[in-house]
């Protein structure tokens, strides 16, 4: 055995020194990757441990079905339904804008725009995507709500409609760029085949490309919805902080995210029931967006398997 080892050394095929550096680097990189895992673990722990404590004081059934939300009043009510309805109301208007316009823009960019046009339009979309949400909130409150009033829609100072519509514009780039990616992945020959059969550009777009990219496009929609559900600043600044149980978009409402931000910045004492409401609502919000994200990730995976 020793002669064997010696001959390897003589040829120099055996490493002269163990490469500890390589192993250390691998461990360090693994630690970097671990930080993402710890973030998720941290989020789950941060939300669900206090939420669990909260549900020892407040019945989970009352929380999920109660129609009155007044955690800071005496007597307090902890029915999350008004916050969920407020969130869904704003989301509805946002999606109403973002899905058709995002998809329309994506079809234009993918199937119609010349490369020069794309070079102009895509940076503009990125510019729109880069605008901080607080700026959209400001715009909704100080420009769009007065505009709605000027054209005869009697909205409150804070209202779901203005917040939702502006949020919709904010989400257009998300929907558009993800849908466009999906359509760009549809193989060229599918289109060529249809063109060869005498189809028009519109027929190719609507009957070939969009159906072929459906799962990717739906994923874009779902991610757009997820963003609207979780968006804080526009709802906080322009939607209001009144937990009205209403789908009337002209009224002020309170979304889950807005409640968290409004309550979290105060000096609510740690450990109090009010403090824990932040986490109970946060956990509800997280579960909703998590479900949407999982659906979107699944759809994207399915789409990739089809075309890549």
């Amino acid at each position: 055995m020793s002669t064997h080892a010696e001959s390897l050394t003589a040829l120099g095929l055996r490493s002269h020194r163990r490469r500890y550096g390589e192993a250390v680097v691998k461990v360090l990189l693994g630690i970097c990757a671990l930080i993402s895992v710890l973030t998720t673990v941290g989020i789950v722990a941060a939300l669900f441990i206090p939420a669990f404590e909260f549900f020892q004081d407040v019945s989970i059934l009352d929380f999920l079905t109660g129609t009155e939300w007044a955690p800071l009043f005496e007597p307090a009510f902890f029915g999350v339904v008004p916050l969920v309805v407020g969130t869904l109301s704003v989301t509805f208007w946002a999606v109403l804008v973002a899905i058709p316009l995002g998809l329309g823009g994506a079809i234009y960019l993918s199937e119609y725009a010349s490369s020069r046009m794309r070079r102009l339009l895509k940076p503009l979309l990125e510019l729109l995507a880069g605008i901080p949400t607080i700026v959209f909130g400001y715009f909704a409150l100080t420009f769009f709500t007065p505009l709605l009033r000027d054209i005869g829609i009697e909205v409150d100072v804070f209202n779901a409609l203005s917040a939702g519509l502006v949020m919709g514009v904010m989400i257009i780039p998300t929907v558009a760029s993800l849908s466009e990616d999906a359509m760009a992945a549809v193989p060229r020959d599918l289109r060529d085949g249809a063109f060869a059969l005498g189809s028009s550009r519109m027929q190719v777009a609507t009957r070939i490309v969009v159906p072929a990219a459906t799962s990717g496009i739906v994923a874009a929609f779902v991610l757009g919805i997820s963003r609207a559900v979780g968006e804080t600043m526009i709802a906080l600044v322009a939607g209001g902080l009144q937990p009205n149980l209403t789908f009337d978009p002209r009224q002020a409402i309170e979304t889950m995210a807005a409640f968290i931000a409004a309550t979290g910045n105060g000096d609510v004492p740690t450990g109090s029931l009010e403090y824990k409401t932040i986490f109970a609502v946060g956990a509800t919000l997280f579960v909703m967006t998590f479900a949407l994200n999982v659906v979107a990730i699944r759809l994207v995976q399915r789409f990739r398997e089809e075309y890549e």
């Binding site: 080892a5 001959s7 390897l8 040829l11 120099g12 095929l13 055996r14 490493s15 490469r19």
Partner: protein, 276 residues
């Protein structure tokens, strides 16, 4: 495929002298996720000669040549069976370090793949990763001269290598491999992406290099094998009962013999152009 042309090439070729065995390949097979790509290859490869590996596409030529510098280690799921003795030591011994193997056994790839850096940095990369900090300039110049590229690039060593022509890029890749002072150079279809003039230059270069180096070349071009190789191995595809394709070594002999009096019918069919 012109047999006349091949015969002319062979007529000028002396019988290869016997020399040291550099590689002793014993029952080598390669599997990807359990499926055999090649199997049962046994052959000896001699020093300071050019050994060509020919055969139809899909016969595992490239897979085979990548066994010699353990490049197959980098493919997840790939496993090499059998033994390859390099000067008597098994390259796949658990004590052997693949990095050390690759320092001694260089490789040139099918498509020229210079690094997106300067010509100088391309050649200096090998010496630098080996920690040879001294005389880097001399090493670079020597390698470029050996690869017959020095005169063309000496005035633009700091220019990006991607600005060179395809043939120059491939000679740069050869120079890059030579700079680590290997004993063996593996060439995986080194001229298949090049035009005929660039191909000729590479072949001339191989003739010069074999005085100092042992060269193993995979080629799909039979005339090229006939022109450059001292010995030639013919690989073919063996169809299994369920249609699985496995590469096997059919015949291995002096190049002249392979092309003029092959002892296997499959070799004869292939070199006369009746197959593949």
């Amino acid at each position: 495929m012109s047999m006349v042309k091949i015969a002319e090439d062979l007529a000028r070729k002396p019988t290869p002298p016997k020399s040291d065995v550099v590689f002793d390949v014993q029952d080598v097979g390669v599997s990807y996720d359990g499926a055999l790509a090649i199997r049962d290859v046994t052959m000896e490869i001699y020093g300071k000669q050019i050994t060509a590996i020919i055969g139809p596409s899909g016969c595992g030529k490239s897979t085979f040549i990548r066994c010699f510098n353990r490049m197959n280690d980098l493919i997840p799921g790939a496993k090499v069976h059998g033994k390859i003795l390099y000067h008597g030591e098994d390259l796949y011994d658990p004590d052997v370090d693949s990095v050390e193997v690759r320092k001694r056994i260089g490789m040139v790839f099918q498509k020229p793949n210079p690094f997106p850096k300067s010509i100088y940095d391309n050649v200096a990369f090998g010496p630098r990763v080996l920690g040879w900090k001294e005389n880097v300039d001399e090493r670079v110049e020597r390698a470029l001269r050996q690869a017959a590229l020095w005169d063309e690039v000496k005035d633009r060593l700091k220019k990006n290598a991607l600005g060179l022509s395809g043939g120059q890029q491939q000679r740069l890749c050869i120079a890059r491999a030579l700079a680590t002072e290997p004993e063996v150079i593996l060439m995986d279809e080194p001229a298949s992406a090049l035009d005929p003039i660039a191909t000729t230059r590479i072949e001339d270069l191989m003739h010069d290099l074999k005085r100092e180096y042992t060269i193993l070349i995979v080629t799909h071009n039979m005339q090229q094998a006939a022109r450059v190789a001292d010995r030639t191995a013919f690989f073919s595809v063996d169809l299994g009962p369920e249609g699985q394709r496995t590469g096997i070594l059919v015949e291995y002999d002096d190049t002249t013999k392979i092309f003029t009096q092959p002892s296997d019918k499959r070799t004869e069919d292939y070199v006369t152009g009746r197959f593949g």
